[in-house]
Amino acid sequence: MNGVRILVIATFFVFVLMTPVVVASGNDSYYIFDNELQVNEGITIETSIHIEVVEVKRIPLERAKFRITSYQRPERMITVFKEDGPQANRYETYSGASIYLDVIGVYSDSVQFRVSGPSNWRVTDYYDVDPEEGGGEVDEAVTVPKLKITRTLDISSVQQGQTAKVTFKIKNDGNGTASEIELDEPTIKGAYREGCPTTLDDIAAGATERVSYDLKIVDVEPGTYELNPTLLNYKSESGTSYSSESSSNVLVIVAEEVLAPELEIKLTIESDDDVIICGERFSVTVRIDNTGNATTGRITVKSHLPDDVRVAGGEIDPVYESIKPGDYEEYEVTMIAYEPGKHVIKMDVLWADEEASASAEFWAERSGFDKYYIYILAAIPIVLILLWLIKRRREYSF
């Protein structure tokens, strides 16, 4: 309870103290320093605060690294990004007054920046940093972490509604522990990250850390997406900021697969050239294939036969309880067609609210005997007459 109160009071005081400064620097644009400095150049403010440009970088973001030392304070490295804003980078002096660093522009080996602070404060000295002196000082203390991040997805193609597991493998190739590791993971619109950390525990030099999260594809248009690189921001023990990024990944999102059985029915008439002899039996094989990806429920078959076609053997309209995907049912029916001509047999297979049908065609012809029946009938009297004539002739031939 006391701690909380003290913190509130402290925050209050800070607020009260800072307010005129902020107003002064914000509204009056009171800058203690507003100029360009080369790398390894420094300024002294009020004879006790030293600000040196350690390095400038323009890629990937324009930034400059400053070393700030002052009375009764440890040396601090501060990296200021161009876009950070005028009050983002604060440095508190021993007296309690703060100065703010704001980078205006970064060039190949110089940086234009502003230092704002108490309005009575002045730059008291410009100086060049002796690299030996500065470097020597730093050498003993600085250890550098170097994180290498690789991102892998367990599948390259995800269906709508499915989840891809994204794994980061982060290895510290440097010689110092990486701390304050921030992980900035981009995402795809319509996909949600589940359990994706934004900060990571410190990674000691040489250690490898694996972190993973689930990328849930909820409502992403099917297509090929590029997953932008993951950005890692971290610091060395000395407080220097570093960053690294992974390579980008490609993720294909396919339409959601609907699970449903699909039946196909096929009729095969066993005959030569699909010609059937009237009155003779022929067999028809019916095959029902489940070409879908789910097991069916109850299946019924309904046949449509021409009027003169009768079933002579076998069940023509069987019922099946189910057919597994990729599986099939087959049965044979014996039929007889009585009239000559073209016939079409149609069969429907019904399941759930769906149906499929197939039809088969065949020609029925009268048998050899049937075909010539009429001629035989006509020939009988002729033959009888002939026989009669022959008989008569024989009666009269001696």
């Binding site: 009669w388 004539l389 008569r392 002739r393 024989r394 009666e395 009269y396 031939s397 001696f398």
Partner: protein, 365 residues
């Protein structure tokens, strides 16, 4: 119904019989036998008998089972002596073949008098049939063309004599020579003669079998055939468009319709007239009157009237008191025989003379 047997002997007899069978089919022509039945006016059985199988084979309208072959190689030629022997040898078979066909009241024997088989069989058959059946037997004898040679003349002479000797109920003559006028060539003359004979025979049978008004019967036939010398012939006349029944009756006595040349008015002994035709033509009074007129010249005339569709047709059948033409034939035959005998004697003498050359000689080897 009358039971009638018609026998055709030898080639001539066979062929006339075949014509009878053909005519019995009616107007159907050659092919009638394939679809029609013979319509005999009575119960008629026919048998063609021959020693020459080729003659039997040549027949067309006689059933095969009604053709009886008397086996003798190549026939008998014109040799009546051989013919008689062959008949004797086969008498039983011939008679049993006839017997198979039942019993008869009237038998016709048709034969040529000139040939070998028929002319030799006929008299012998008359004898056998008389023994076996109580039937009237009428022989129809065909006389040869005179130019056919002396053997045919001889045969005819002897055949007729033998026939008369066996005394059938009658002999009706058909004279090829006389009927030669029918056609130019022999073949068609034969056909015409055969058909004429056949039609007359069938007409006669019809009349005998009918039960119509003014019918003639077997008794009448017998009486007619008994007249004169028992030899006669037949005449026929078919009335023209406007002909009266009288002219038709008289027409049937005219020489043009006769099968043998005779002068009925002079030589006729008895006659039978059969008149057939539509009722409208048949004026019975006129018929009776005409017949009565004829009777004064011809002698007894029997008449029968058949009412049948068509124009009046008249068949006349009669016996003669004298047969001058037959006498002529006999004279010619005698001449021929004598000539043959002389020739043979002469030839024999010539041969003997020739042989005389080697009398009392022996062959030397």
């Amino acid at each position: 119904m009358l039971n009638i047997l018609i026998l055709g002997l030898g080639q001539c007899g066979n062929r006339v019989l075949d014509a009878v069978n053909h005519e019995a089919f009616g107007s159907g022509g050659t092919f009638a036998k394939y679809y029609s039945r013979q319509k005999f006016p009575a119960s008629v059985k026919t048998i063609a008998i021959n020693t020459a199988i080729n003659d039997l084979k040549g027949l067309t309208d006689t059933r095969a089972k009604d053709r009886f072959h008397v086996p003798h190689l190549h026939g008998v030629g014109a040799n009546r002596a051989l013919g008689k022997k062959v008949f004797d040898d086969n008498k039983e078979q011939i008679m049993s073949e006839i017997d198979k066909r039942g019993s008869f009241e009237l038998i016709f024997i048709i034969t040529s008098a000139a040939g070998g088989s028929g002319s030799s069989f006929a008299p012998l058959l008359v004898k056998e049939l008389k023994k076996a059946y109580n039937a009237q037997i009428i022989c129809i004898a065909v006389l040869p063309f005179r130019e056919e040679g002396s053997i045919f003349l001889q045969n005819t002479a002897f055949c007729i004599r033998e026939l008369v000797a066996e005394s059938p109920n009658g002999i009706l003559l058909v004279d090829n020579q006389y009927l030669k006028k029918y056609a130019g060539d022999i073949k068609s003359a034969y056909d015409k003669i055969n058909i004429s004979v056949a039609r007359r025979v069938l007409f006669l049978i019809e009349a005998l079998n009918s039960e119509m008004l003014m019918v003639t019967d077997l008794g009448d036939l017998k009486t007619v055939m008994n007249g004169g010398i028992g030899i006669g012939t037949m005449g026929y006349y078919e009335a023209g468009k406007d002909g009266t029944i009288k002219s038709a009756i008289l027409g049937s006595f005219k020489p043009s319709g006769l099968l043998f040349p005779a002068n009925v008015y002079n030589e006729g002994a008895r006659a039978m007239l059969i008149i057939k035709g539509d009722k409208k033509y048949l004026d019975l009074d006129l018929i009776t009157k005409t017949v009565e007129e004829l009777s004064t010249d011809v002698g007894q005339v029997f008449k029968g009237v058949l009412i049948k569709k068509g124009r009046p047709k008249v068949l006349s059948l009669f016996t003669l008191n004298s047969v001058p033409e037959l006498e002529n034939l006999y004279a010619a035959a005698a001449d021929a025989i004598r000539f043959e005998m002389d020739k043979r004697e002469q030839s024999k003498k010539q041969l003997d003379d020739a042989f005389a050359h080697i009398d009392e000689l022996e062959p030397i080897y």
